[in-house]
Symmetry: C2
Subunit: 272 residues, 2 copies
């Protein structure tokens, strides 16, 4: 039975922990850490099998565990990822945006090979990454269009300098078109989706991003198009927000739990 | 470095073998078998690093290898899969249709747990299985529409009793609608795609299949729709046939190679 340590006891971390704690999950959550001791305590209280709370994030990977699950922040990834691998533990990363920094990606990829460990990135709020990674060497174009209600776009850095006024949008409107590299700094709430797609395919400079504000939608929709010698793929994912945390799509939580379950099981594994 | 044995030296097996034989693949092909000795010899001739040809399929998994790659037939899966696991080797299966027989699926799933080994099923000629497996517990509907040129449908058992005359179809026409369970016996050429989708999601009795003949297309197109509490996903995959084997989509070969590469690498693994 695999032993799991959790870094980050917020909304996402809590849902992952509850899934591990459920009866049919083939693993045990043994250690947790959150920068807020209250968050750690509050999580432990909700669980049947109580994990130990460690005193700092680096103490997670020195325990007798198999994998550290990061559900904290990009800074947490930058801080602990390398030492997790050096401690010969696997790692699952939710804050995928941290890997868009190429030097960090390369260091971690090399460390995986050096220490014979694996970093897992779940498909997050999108799908079809099985197809995109298979064709990545012959991809000619890759784009993602994200459509959200204008209120879900509020506060993005893009609007500090743009003339677009979200309050005046009365029908579906393209508010931004550019590269994934530029988009992740202007629309931080989209960073994980754009980062995942870029890393899976042809990088953030060649991946196109379009952001659409649509006052008639109550979903977050991602439409992905990929074309090349193999043919063409289009994926449309209409996500319902999670009831516990409306800023996150339900799919992002389900795909994290599924990735972890696959890691913990000896079974028939479907999908590339 | 992982050691691979290959069962089946036909078109698909040959392309997988050539990929393993290429410079940047982190594994070695050490043993091969095909019911036709000529096929084995012909494959070995094409490779830089010559694998050993074994005398029967069961001798593959008794060698010092890590994984057996099946690219032979459903019968080959039924014949050797269990003994591969009993010999404590992993297995990658291309002839996924063999697993639609529930008793076989259950036996192999149990054997994976007993012998702590994994069976890998690549995403084949479709994509989006990362999303579908994540939401499988809350799927309310799952369907696939496959569109092909009428000539690509010729010879299917369905037409023995149907009044549809493929030669008379002059525009895009739905020729069949039913369950995946029924479709796989009537359209054997579609069996892997329908089997994969059924196994990933809610089973072959609840998965709907539609077959469309379109004389204006030169591609094999799969359109998948999945809906439930999480929202909705639609995937459209327009496949170009492989130049070496027009009966197979290029994506099916690429996804097999990618699955194997992932198995052989310690690295950052993207996707659920």
């Amino acid at each position: 039975m695999k032993r799991i340590a959790l870094l980050g006891c917020g909304s996402m971390g809590t849902q992952i922990a509850l899934a591990i704690d459920s009866e049919n999950f083939p693993a045990t959550l043994t250690h947790v850490y959150d920068a807020s001791k209250d968050s750690s305590l509050s999580l432990v209280q909700k669980l049947q099998n109580k994990p130990e709370i460690v005193e700092n994030s680096h103490l997670l990977s020195s325990q007798p565990i198999d994998i550290v699950v990061e559900a904290a922040s990009q800074d947490a990834v930058k801080d602990v990822a390398l030492s997790v691998l050096q401690n010969k533990k696997d790692l699952m990363i939710m804050s995928v945006g941290a890997l868009l920094d190429e030097s960090i990606y390369d260091i971690l990829s090399d460390a995986c090979k050096d220490f014979k460990k694996t970093i897992y990135l779940p498909s997050g709020a999108i799908a079809g990454l099985d197809g995109i990674k298979s064709v990545k060497d012959e991809l000619e174009s890759l784009s993602i269009t994200t459509t959200k209600h204008p209120r879900s776009l509020k506060g993005a850095k893009f609007f500090e300098t743009s003339e677009v006024n979200l309050d005046e949008i009365s029908s579906s409107t393209v508010v931004y078109e550019g590269t994934a590299k530029e988009a992740v700094s202007l629309f931080p709430a989209n960073i994980n989706v754009a980062a995942l797609l870029s890393l899976t395919g042809i990088g953030s400079e060649k991946t196109s991003v379009k952001i659409v504000a649509d006052p008639s939608t109550d979903k977050n929709t991602h439409h992905i198009e990929a074309a090349g010698k193999f043919g063409k793929m289009t994926f449309t994912i209409e996500n319902v927000p999670d009831t516990n945390n409306p800023k996150t799509s339900r799919l992002a939580i389900l795909s994290a739990i599924e990735t972890l379950k696959k890691y913990c099981s000896d079974d028939i594994q479907i999908g590339t």
